[in-house]
Structure formats: structure tokens, C-alpha cells
Amino acid sequence: MMARLLADVPARALVMLGVFFAALCVIPLFANDYFITVLILILYFAFVGQAWNIMTGFAGQLSLGHALYVGLGAYAAAILYVKFGISPWIGLGASIVIAAAAGAVIGFLAFRFGVGGVYFAILTIAFAECARIGFDHWRWVGAASGLFLPVANYTQNDLWNLRGSPIMFYYVVLGMTVGAFVLCHALLRSRVGYYWLAIRESPEAAQALGIDIFRYKMYAVVLSAAMTSLSGVLFAFYYNNLFPEQVFHISRSIEFILGPIIGGIGTLFGPIVGAFVLTTLGESVEEVMRALGIDIPGIKQVFYGICLLLVVMFLPDGIWPPLRKRLGLDRKPRTPGKPK
């Protein structure tokens, strides 16, 4: 199976990927805590970006409400831990089921009734907002005051309960991101992947070739939701507090899409590139501001907005495709382009 996955990947790409991965594995040995937290943030966005990419980039359904799945996943695992002492590794099962169910509902409502394109995006926003308001008023999970996880000291890493130092979280999120990458790669090469791309490019032609559009769109939505919920689990146990206003907020949803769009929607490596570039630039901007003594909330977001604008206007396929060409990693024009 490994061989099949690695078939027709150019050797150059494998080498570069290997080096990159090795670097990521050993960095914590040399880096300070701050650097590691930034990397965790980057990998977190890279992971969610890949999950989002499945729904939007592969299957062509624009979602602007992915914070919903993060929040559901986060609260599900957190509640099980705080109220029942259940380990997040088991709790994530609940996260996946709940998020998948939410995705299925949204998908069903949308696809059964032919809600597509922009309307679908609005529907996703609406559901995320409903969740935000709903959880804000739900006293059992702490409502607007938030849900808090008991914080342990960092002397001991408790992997089973995800209590520990940033380094532990780093390797967990690295594992997740790599896992997502391998999964996406495998999906693109499978029947599901081909069908998704076909639906994205031309739903009519796809139907005429025997593809059940509803079913495959549902697969994409449910898988994307389930994957995203895992990042919610990580979020809950890393930050140790959950506020509906923050977790479900539309700003989160928009943050998630910045990486893949800037990196390159629909490509395999785009979300990862996007996450690295964006987060690094964002943190740098903040560093510069701090050094200059300027403290203006919102400046980072303006910066992100401008980046997004420039990319959409001038590099519609994202940063990764032209970069990939430069690095000589392109096979012939085979790669999936931008979604319709």
C-alpha cells in the first residue's frame, strides 16, 4: 500500500518532504518555548486547513463555519474529561460523532434542496452562529462564563490525559498534521478523490458519468467535520478554557480559511504552506509592532485581510502552485486547479 501511495510522486518531492519532516521532528530540541508555541499554532492551522480543504478544495463546497466543528469537538471532549474524567483519546470519539452529525445535518439540508455555492457558505455561517449563541446560554457547559479544564503543572507529561508541556502538544499536533496529509494524499488518489474533483469541476458531467452527487458531497462534508473536531479536542486541552464567544466565532472560521486560500485551495500542500507563511508573517508583524511600542488591536487582522485580498486578486491559485513549479516539483499540468 505504501508503494501505491508513493507511486508517481517525483523523487525530488519525496526527498524534500522527508527533509522537511525530519526538521520538524528535531526542532523542539533546539527551540525555545515561544518558538514551539508558534509552531504549534502553525501546525494547528495546517491541520484544520487540510480538513477544510477536503470540503472546499476537493469537493468544492465553500464552508465559512468550520468553527462549529472545532467548538463541538472541543466541548464534547472537554465535558467528558471535566465531568466524567474520561481521557481525551476516548472522548474524541464523541467529538467525531457529534461533529460528523452536525456536518451531516448541514449537508443534508443543503444538498437535498440544492443549496450550493454562496448559499451553502451562508448556511454554514448561520449554524456556527447558532451554536455560538446556543452554547452562550447553555449553563451545563458554563455558558458565556466558559468551561475550564483543571490545569496541571508541567513537570510530568500525561499523554493519556493530554496534560503536559508544549513539547508534548507539539508532537501530538505534528502527528495529526502528518496523518491528515497522508490521508488527503490517499483520498486524492482514490475513487472518492476523483469523484470529488469531478463534482467540483462540473457537477452535470459528473452525474452523467454515474456519480451520485449527494452521496459524495455528504462524504466530504462529514469527513471534513469529523477531522476538524479533532483539532477542537486539541484546542480544549491545550488552552484549557473554552468560551463560546471565542470558539464558535466567525473570526475563527475565517482564520481557518486564510491558510488554504493563500497557500492554494484544492492542492495537497497548499494549506500547510499557507499556515506557515501566514502565521509566521502574522507573528512577525506583531513582533515588529511590539518592538516599535505600538499596540493596536486589529492590526494583524487588517494585515491578514490585505494578504487575502492580494492573493485572491493576483495569485488566485495560491502561493503553492507557482512555488511548486519553481522548485521543479510539478508533474505535467495534472494538478487540481481552483474550485468553481
Binding site: 454562496v118 475565517i254 488591536p297 486589529g298 487588517v302 485580498l309 485572491v312 486578486m313 474550485p339
Partner: protein
């Protein structure tokens, strides 16, 4: 024994009617804001995700004019509309038209980017605190039978109806209005006939922005301004337009009223902070049972 309505707690019918009427008036203003969203989509085929943000800008303009120069927002409606018109025209011309051939997603995200920039610039310039307008008639009210209506709401609603009627007349009776409708109906045909479609698009967007500007002035009479109002209103506007039917001005007005009333009653009977959930609930119902909206045409 006064009539009452009970759901959770018991509320006198009077209160319900008052709140509903209040919601209706607010809803008319909502409807106006969404009118042109509908038109912009029908004509330019662009979904203006920066809709709410543009209205928020107009609201801040009205607030500034009132705070510094004591100018009534309703009177300032026209100048603010003009400013927004120029702004909208420029945005369409510079940022959108050159990319008119991009897929729908791209254009949508373009406007998302613009919206992000707008919201955060407003945050930087004005700060997160709420600002409001207190005109001389802020505490007046009209009494019709048992209904007590805020003067501000009545004036705002009246202004909304006037502007909406003006819009309707514009489309029906002026040459430019007809040209815009022609573009919406048949892009290629309009080109063939010699209409400068790009300019008409920019004009449409600009007029939409003007409309939103006028609505923003009216809105300052109803709510306080904060930067996050932008995204909230964009969402509301979309719900209204989808409820009413994309491309239908009457639909936007009716949808606005429906949402206004639903929100007001929902806020009364349940909790005020959960107001928008009812709008979303309505959206889901509409998408389930009549996805083309109340006045929309069923797609063939």
C-alpha cells in the same frame, strides 16, 4: 381580564403587539438594507459580503456628524448616501470588475477580504466601545390605540419606505434603471445593444452602497454602533434576502419585516441575547420548505 400570551412566562397581549409593531418598523429598515443586496446579486452576480461593513461605516459617519456638528442622521441620509456611493463605485471598479470572470467563490472571498479589512480598520479607528446618537426626539413616541411606538423607529421606518419607493421608481421609470435591469436579464444582449455594462455594474454597486448608506443613517436611530455590527448585519441581510427571494425587492422588504418581527418577539418571549437565533431558525425553515424565498422564482 386582560388577554395574555404564555410561553415560559406570561406576557400581556399589549406588550406583544407593541413589540411586534416595533419589530415591524425595524424590519422595514432591515428590508431596505437588503433591497440592494438582492439587486446587486441579481445584476452583478456578486454576493456582497461586505454589505454589513459598509453599513457600519455609514453608521459611524452619521454618528460623527451628529457628535461634532449636531446634524440629524435622517437629514444626513443623502450626503452619507453620496459618500457611500462614491466608495461603492470605486470598490466595484477597482477591485471587482477586473475580476468579473473569476469563479463565484473567488469573488465572494474577495469581498470577505474587503470586509475583514473594513471591520478591523473601524476597530482601530473607533475602538470597540458602542457609540450612539441621541437626537432631540429620541424619547418621543406616538400612540395609536394601545400601541406605543418610538418616534425614532417611526421616522426611520418612514424614511425606509420613501427610499424603497424611490428605488422602485428608479427601476421602473428611469432609463438607467431599465438599463440595469437589462443587464441583469441578459448580459450578452445588453452588450450587443451597446450598454456599457462595466459602468452599469459599477453604478449598480455604487447605488447599492448609497442605499446601504441611507439605511445606515436610519439604523443609528435604532441601535448603537460597534465594529462587530458589520458581520452581524451582513448575515442578517443575507437571511432576509434568502427569505424574501433573491432578486425581488418586494421580497427583501417583506423578508425584512418578517425578520424584524421574529427577532423582536423571540427576544421578548425567550431571551434578548438569543435574538438572532430566530432569524437563523427562519432561514433553515425557508431553505427546507421554500428555498427560492417567498417571492423568488422556482429555478427551472
Amino acid at each position: 381580564m386582560r388577554p395574555e400570551f404564555c410561553w415560559g412566562s406570561c406576557v400581556p397581549l399589549e406588550v406583544i403587539l407593541n413589540v411586534a409593531a416595533s419589530g415591524l418598523l425595524t424590519g422595514l429598515v432591515y428590508g431596505l438594507t437588503s433591497d440592494w443586496l438582492s439587486v446587486i446579486f441579481g445584476v452583478v452576480r456578486v454576493v456582497n459580503f461586505a454589505h454589513g461593513e459598509m453599513m457600519t461605516i455609514a453608521m459611524y459617519l452619521a454618528v460623527i456628524l451628529f457628535s461634532y456638528y449636531k446634524l440629524d442622521p435622517l437629514l444626513m441620509m443623502v450626503p452619507i448616501a453620496v459618500v457611500l456611493f462614491v466608495f461603492g463605485y470605486a470598490i466595484q471598479h477597482v477591485l471587482i470588475t477586473p475580476f468579473i470572470n473569476r469563479p463565484e467563490h473567488s469573488q465572494f472571498i474577495l469581498l470577505v477580504a474587503i470586509a475583514i479589512i473594513m471591520v478591523n480598520v473601524l476597530l482601530i479607528v473607533f475602538g470597540p466601545d458602542a457609540k450612539s446618537v441621541q437626537p432631540a426626539y429620541a424619547f418621543d413616541s406616538f400612540q395609536i390605540g394601545t400601541l406605543i411606538l418610538d418616534a425614532t423607529k417611526v421616522y426611520a421606518a418612514a424614511a425606509a419606505i420613501i427610499v424603497a419607493a424611490a428605488l422602485f421608481g428608479f427601476f421602473r421609470f428611469t432609463l438607467v434603471g431599465k438599463a440595469i435591469r437589462a443587464c441583469a436579464d441578459n448580459y450578452a444582449g445588453a452588450l450587443v445593444v451597446g450598454l456599457d455594462v462595466k459602468r452599469l455594474y459599477a453604478l449598480t454597486f455604487g447605488l447599492g452602497a448609497a442605499c446601504v448608506g441611507a439605511a445606515g443613517s436610519m439604523m443609528t436611530l435604532l441601535v448603537d454602533v460597534t465594529p462587530p455590527l458589520g458581520p452581524a448585519y451582513t448575515l442578517l441581510a443575507f437571511v432576509i434576502v434568502i427569505t424574501g427571494g433573491l432578486g425581488s425587492m418586494m421580497g427583501a422588504l417583506v423578508g425584512g419585516v418578517l425578520i424584524g418581527v421574529t427577532e423582536a418577539l423571540g427576544g421578548l418571549l425567550f431571551t434578548p441575547s438569543a435574538k438572532s437565533m430566530f432569524a437563523f431558525g427562519l432561514l433553515v425553515l425557508i431553505l427546507l420548505f421554500r428555498p427560492q424565498g417567498i417571492f423568488g422564482k422556482r429555478p427551472t
